[in-house]
Amino acid sequence: MNSVAASLPRRRTGHPVVLCALGALLFATALWSLTRGAMAIAPGEVIGALLRWIDGTAARGDDSIVLALRVPRLLLAVAVGAALATGGSTMQGLFRNPLADPGLIGVSAGAALGAVAAIVLGGQSGSWLVAVAAFFGGLVATVLVFLLGKRRPGVANLLLAGVAINAIAMAGVGLLTYLANENQLRDLTFWSLGSLGGASWSRLGIVAPWIVLPLLCLPRAARALNALLLGDSEAALLGFRPERLQPFLVGLVALSVGASVAFTGVIGFVGLVVPHLLRMVFGPDHRFLLPASALGGATLLVAADALARTVVAPGELPIGVLTALVGGPFFLWLLLRRRVGESMS
């Protein structure tokens, strides 16, 4: 944390430029991803399809592959990537811990328990039942973590409550795994590796508001998160109320990450590493970190999904495998080239 004061004034001026660059990178990655898939569609054709769609001329050729499958999938990747990375960055700020991710507040484990229960007891896979059960499982777990954690002041208690609820939820997942038959086992394994394959316009319309609206509220907490870096009492002296901030942030992250996980399954790595990486390079100012995480997470997930549907085409790899494969080595490289003695903040 010692770099906060030193780095802020010097780097602040550069941040709008970095945000614009990240935005441009996301845009370029998005266009590239639209041209990638099991079906070979030339970039010109993809742009033609988009233009015909925008000005309302009749679709032709493979337009429907681009418009009905790839575009909703791209938008889902953007929303989910942004939710996971922004959620991670918020959690890392709230817990003042670079290893925090949205899973800490129980949302992922709760969602997993809900989804696995729907798969094993409801006998369903890839259906609405799984998504709804996962969403509510995530919310219930988060509410429990929060209620148990706030019985004593301080963020450490929230963390411990999260650890306990996570353990209980994962025990439930283990029990259900034991009860599952062979097909259900494979279904829940795939669920736990994530996929954006279920995207369609109608599903996107239902799930996107739950992801995006909470995300839009998070940047309002940026200044408060910056103050929290100094410690609870220092933040209080600066006029921020940590005990008010907690439910606000935990609730928003639980909603957007819960909706993401419910719809796509567990996609690891993005929430932990994207904000971490941005903080390592550009410093811990949350006014920058929150929007930058959104853009970075979206870019990583869009790229990973494009690879997921092309590497083994016409088959498809689980996206969780690729987020780690794409992001992991880059993160390691960044970590290793840092000079000895630099802090981890």
């Binding site: 009905a68 034991y178 599952a180």
Partner: protein, 281 residues
């Protein structure tokens, strides 16, 4: 995007496909090991454009493009092969992918789940109709029915029915045994055995003690895992096995999992082979 525009878009994809049917041969994608086996057995394989990862028999099927695991399909991956007809086993999925393929205007036919000889015959005839190979399909269905009838007679004539445990060895920890509501349970019954684990549904991990308590006369495993478990010697060395009747008389049987448990054309002869072994005292 409005529903109308989507429909229009779908129609534009569908149109060239419809035109293609009239001129060229049908392009079929087969999803599910049982479906692919039947397609080959009724000589309809010339129209196959792709298969899923569970379609590993016959060997020739492996040369076709692989669209991935049958319950985790990608809509675009399947559509990219420009199929005219998709033959899907009952649990092909996920439902969203099936929905997406259907809404792109491609014909997808899901075959009913099958666990009895009658189901298998019906499945063969249905695939025959869908691929316009009814003659071959009828012949195969009749042949399969004859084999099952002969098998049923042989089973009825067995002086005693051995207690059987089907083990799915995971290579670590306790192996999983097939309870009722499993393909293995039905296959054991077809071959004239009595499933010694029939009181629990699905696959359950069994401890060495539980295995001894089940008193199986025969232990059945998948041939696909034979090397991994170390063959008959490896099974005999598994904890508990030595204290079972099966272990004492060394009655360990390996069966081709896909052939016996796929409930396709090869199930009858594989069950019959097991029955012949089990009929001996």
């Amino acid at each position: 995007m409005s529903a109308r525009r989507l429909l229009l878009a779908a129609a534009f994809v569908a149109l060239p496909c419809v035109a293609a049917v009239a001129t060229a041969a049908t392009r079929v994608v087969s999803l599910g090991g049982d479906v692919t086996e039947i397609v080959y057995a009724i000589h309809a394989q010339d129209e196959l454009a792709a298969r899923d990862s569970t379609s590993t028999w016959p060997e020739a099927a492996k040369a076709l493009p692989d669209v991935g695991y049958v319950r985790q399909l990608s809509a675009e991956g399947v559509l990219a092969l420009r199929p005219d007809l998709i033959l899907a086993t009952h649990d092909a999925g996920p439902p969203t992918a099936i929905e997406q393929i259907r809404s792109a205007g491609v014909r997808i036919e899901t075959l009913p789940a099958s666990r009895t000889p009658e189901d298998i015959e019906a499945k063969i005839r249905r695939i025959g109709e869908l691929t316009a190979h009814t003659k071959d399909a009828d012949a195969l269905a009749t042949d399969v029915a004859t084999r099952f009838n002969a098998l049923a007679k042989a089973v009825a004539a067995m002086p005693h029915h051995p207690r059987v445990v089907f083990l799915m060895s995971t290579g670590q920890g306790s192996p999983m045994a097939a309870g009722h509501d499993t393909a293995a349970d039905r296959a054991i019954a077809l071959a004239g055995g009595v499933n010694a684990v029939a009181d629990v549904p699905g696959y359950k991990a069994v401890s060495p003690e539980a295995l001894v308590a089940m008193k199986p006369d025969v232990i059945l495993l998948m041939k696909e895992r034979e090397d991994a478990v170390g063959g008959v010697a490896g099974v005999l060395a598994m904890p508990g096995v030595g204290d079972t009747p099966a272990g004492k008389s060394k009655r360990i049987d390996f069966v081709e999992g896909q052939a016996l448990l796929g409930f396709g054309p090869r199930t009858a002869e594989n069950a019959a082979a097991l029955q012949a072994r089990w009929a001996r005292p």
